[in-house]
């Protein structure tokens, strides 16, 4: 665990259909992805102090493994938790929903390499739509 840089806010993303920067003052750094994290987005459950997004990915990988082994996984329902305490369960549900339903959230945040494996939609003026005429 190290102290985060004060110049950037918390790197975790708020939102479900649309992702935006949290931006709160970071208090620590994620042990897994090394991004600055605020208190709200810190997950302390059993995996060291990681951010809720890394924790969600780890839990989902575990659940996917259990599913492969024929075990039952938690139902696919949004958490019934007060919004102030919902960061961790919501990150887990969000990750699961995106994977299972193929939903690509709209990205209204600063670029973040830790989301490179996830499909998100953002505006790219230089984006080349490609097609059969390219080659």
């Amino acid at each position: 665990m190290s102290q985060p840089s004060a110049t950037r806010g918390c790197a975790c993303k708020r939102g479900f259909f649309v992702l935006r920067d949290c931006g709160a003052a970071p208090t620590t750094t994620c042990a897994s992805c090394a991004r600055p994290v605020c208190d709200e987005h810190r997950a302390d459950g059993g995996r060291g102090a990681t951010c809720v997004e890394c924790a969600a990915r780890a839990v989902e990988e575990e659940a996917l493994g259990q599913l492969r082994d024929g075990m039952r996984v938690a139902p696919d329902q949004p958490p019934s938790v007060a919004p102030a305490e919902a960061a961790e369960p919501l990150a887990r549900y969000r990750h699961r929903y995106y994977r299972r339903h193929g939903y690509e959230p709209i990205w209204w945040a600063r670029p973040d390499a830790s989301w490179s494996a996830d499909d998100v939609r953002w505006f790219d003026a230089d984006e080349d739509p490609g097609g059969f005429g390219d080659s």
Binding site: V18, D21, Y97, Y103
Partner: protein, 293 residues
């Protein structure tokens, strides 16, 4: 904690909602969640209390009648004493049952709203007021009855009556952080079939069945300054049964509707059905400019 203590622990506003069983107001999402979570806690205690009171009433009446009959044969004065003591106790229990029934909320909204509000809070700025109009009364009360119909029957069915109820129990309006105006509506239509049957010996039986059709409507108005209409990929399967897109000058309005039917009435709606409709609306647009919120 007893039901009375739980009701007393509610704030004045929440207690007023519990008594009226109607919600209509504007508050931040966290406040709504706190209200519905507190009401759900009370409602669970009320449900358990009602079950307990019903059990006590059944055993009470049975014990009183059997005891009074036996004592009447053996010692009539004791039977009189038993009735004098037992009847007021049962009257008190009936009063308690009536009291609990008056504050028992419908299960559908109480189980659906807390997770839905928790999820929508993620996209709504914390200080922004959210409009919620909810009807927490049971779906098959007289005030929601819309019509009746006598159906043709053949023996052994002696009569069949359909009673219809319309229960629009939720309208929620909020504005997400990206400027999208979101409206969620849930309407439940219930058909109660009351059937009287007879067997060859002439014994009659009354059977009551409920079927419901739940209509979920989601409307999202996207601001044009941020979004453009996205082309629909061929072969895309939508969660919605009906979709309408209207392009205005300054906004794109996407309306999604899903309908499902099931037996019973007043049950919870899986919140993921509403999440799927909102996701279907967001799939119809793409960002039209860069930047951050």
């Amino acid at each position: 904690m007893s039901v009375r203590q739980q009701v007393r622990a509610l704030s004045a506003g929440d207690r007023a909602i519990l008594e009226a069983q109607l919600v209509d107001g504007e508050r931040p999402m966290a406040d709504w969640f706190a209200t519905f979570a507190a009401l759900a806690g009370v409602d669970a205690a009320v449900g358990a209390g009602r079950a307990r009171t019903t059990r006590h009433l059944c055993f009470g009446w049975l014990g009183l009648l059997v005891g009074a009959f036996v004592l009447l044969l053996l010692l009539p004065i004791a039977a009189l004493v038993l009735l004098l003591v037992g009847l007021p106790v049962l009257a008190l229990l009936h009063g308690r049952a009536r009291e609990l029934r008056a504050i028992d909320l419908a299960n559908g909204p109480m189980e659906t709203l807390p997770p839905l509000l928790s999820l929508l809070a993620a996209d709504t700025p914390p200080e922004r007021p959210v409009t919620v109009r909810a009807d927490l009364r049971e779906p098959t009360i007289d005030a929601k009855r819309t019509g009746e119909q006598d159906r043709p029957v053949t023996r052994p069915v002696l009569s069949l009556k359909w009673t219809f109820f319309a229960n629009p129990w939720l309208e929620l309006r909020t504005r997400f952080a990206d400027g999208a105006a979101v409206r969620v509506e849930v309407t439940e239509h219930v058909r109660r079939a009351t059937r009287i049957k007879t067997n060859p010996r002439g014994k009659r039986k009354l059977k009551v069945k409920h079927k419901r059709r739940v209509q979920l409507d989601v409307q999202v108005a996207f601001p044009r300054r941020r979004y453009a209409l996205a082309p629909v990929a061929p072969g895309t399967v939508s969660a919605a049964d009906r979709e309408r897109v209207v392009e205005g000058e300054d906004r794109i309005v996407v309306r999604e509707r899903a309908v499902f039917k099931e037996t019973g009435s007043g049950g919870a709606i899986q919140p993921h059905r509403i999440v799927d409709l909102l996701a279907a609306a967001y799939r119809r647009v793409e960002p039209a400019k860069g930047g951050r919120l």
